[in-house]
């Protein structure tokens, strides 16, 4: 099943670390601004709009179903 990890900027390094440690260094990831937790609906919608195309592209990429 195609999958993509959504990773906020503050956790990008951890995402890289975990991807390597579990043997999936090329797992598709999309970066978005931090923080979003508790940021409110307007911010959530802006962030979602900003990364929507990236998510679709990542899911369509060959590695997304790995």
């Amino acid at each position: 099943m195609p999958a993509v990890a959504l990773v906020s900027s503050e956790f990008w390094a951890q995402g890289e670390f975990i991807a390597r440690s579990v043997g999936m260094p090329d797992i598709p990831r999309v970066r978005f601004e931090h923080p979003v937790a508790g940021a409110g609906i307007a911010v959530m919608q802006r962030v979602a709009a900003a990364i929507r195309d990236d998510i679709v592209a990542a899911l369509a990429a060959p590695g997304a179903a790995a």
């Binding site: 390094a13 951890q14 670390f17 975990i18 440690s21 579990v22």
Partner: protein, 359 residues
């Protein structure tokens, strides 16, 4: 995987270990091959025996790599059986070490030692200041586990250990139960182990919170006042478990407070039941403070319990005589929701080497 580094002298080796992020920020004993080999010999096990893999890096927790971390922490060979017991407990899948290492919460593994190992592998302090400085076994054993989590598990602050602040127990966090002064059966006996067995009970907790209680032997309400103070402290409003209603909390009862409850007729079972009952906040309050996590109140006065059951509250005796006990609230997260995990300390595996400690 372990690699052999080269350095011109001890000082350069230490600086290199700091540069590589292999320390906890404090100086370590440089784990030369000779020192590690002596520690391995003291374990009575081959260096390549693996206790499992340690997350989030999935490093191999072999006797050799654990021994290297024990050397770095300043352990004596006598301490190693407890270190190995702590690592076994940490590697138990129920402990959720990978998630515990990676979380933004400040959780750290609290090492509680019971049975003869308290003396044979120490002495491991349980009285005055047991969670503070001054006790080599406590400091070194807890630090060895942390250095394993750093060097085998790969925990690095801001990269793979995402604790927003952490707490000082992430340097070292180990004490024994004061079984001799306790009016209650020892923790490991209550868990079903023989009194002659030695165990490590590992609980992921916040930093200790002090709990003041001034007793009055003439006041019949004293036991309830003490229990209520401890219970509300276990459910302190900022703690995860107050909001999640789960995890494992720890109470370290000082001898005076334990005596108050003993005189009132409590045993371990009735004690944790009484604490659980009181470790709660009004559901209406929780719903108001955290509407995204706590469901709307069924009734304004209905309690929202900070733990799922009395079994999720661990009580040990410890500390000096006086006004203060401690509670250690919980993380209450991870796939298994932060249970306590107990492992046997295998004293019969240890190989006694006279004079080794002095080298």
């Amino acid at each position: 995987m372990s690699v052999l580094l080269e350095a011109s002298d001890e000082y350069a080796a230490l600086e290199r270990l700091h540069e590589l992020g292999c320390t906890d920020g404090l100086p370590v004993v440089v784990p030369t091959p000779e020192r590690v080999e002596r520690m391995v010999v003291a374990s009575g096990l081959p260096a390549d025996v693996s206790l499992g893999t340690m997350g989030p890096n999935h490093g191999n927790a072999s006797i050799g790599t654990i021994a290297a971390c024990a050397v770095m922490a300043g352990c004596l060979p006598d301490h190693l059986p407890v270190v190995l017991g702590a690592v076994r407990a940490a590697l138990d899948p129920r402990f959720d070490l990978t998630e515990l290492q990676a979380t933004t919460h400040a959780i750290a593994p609290f090492v509680i030692v019971n049975g003869p190992a308290r003396h044979a592998c120490g002495p491991i302090a349980s009285g005055f200041g047991a969670l503070g400085p001054g006790f080599r076994a406590n400091a070194s054993i807890g630090r060895a586990l942390r250095l394993c989590m750093i060097n085998i598990g790969g925990a690095r602050p801001g990269v793979s250990d995402m604790a927003l602040l952490g707490h000082p127990g992430k340097f070292t966090f180990c004490m024994a139960e004061d079984e001799e002064s306790s009016p209650f059966e020892p923790l490991h006996v209550a868990l079903g182990y023989d009194a002659t067995a030695s165990t490590v009970t590992l609980v992921g907790t916040e930093a200790p919170h002090s709990v003041i209680f001034v007793g009055d032997a003439d006041d019949p309400t004293a036991p309830d006042r003490l229990l209520t103070t401890l219970g509300l402290s276990l459910a302190t409003i900022g703690a995860n478990n107050a909001h999640f209603g789960g995890g494992t909390g720890v109470v370290v009862l000082n001898p005076d407070h334990a005596a108050v409850l003993d005189r009132a007729g409590f045993d371990r079972r009735t004690l944790v039941e009484a604490l659980w009952e009181r470790a709660a906040n009004p559901r209406s309050l929780m719903s108001r403070l955290n509407p995204s996590m706590v469901r709307p109140p069924k009734g304004a006065d209905e309690p929202f319990h900070a733990y799922r059951s009395p079994d999720d509250i661990v009580v040990i005796a410890g500390g000096g005589s006086g006004l203060y006990s401690m509670v250690l609230p919980s993380w209450a997260a991870g796939p298994h929701a932060n249970p306590a995990v107990t492992a046997v300390v295998e004293l019969d595996q240890a190989c006694e080497i006279p004079g080794l400690a002095a080298r």
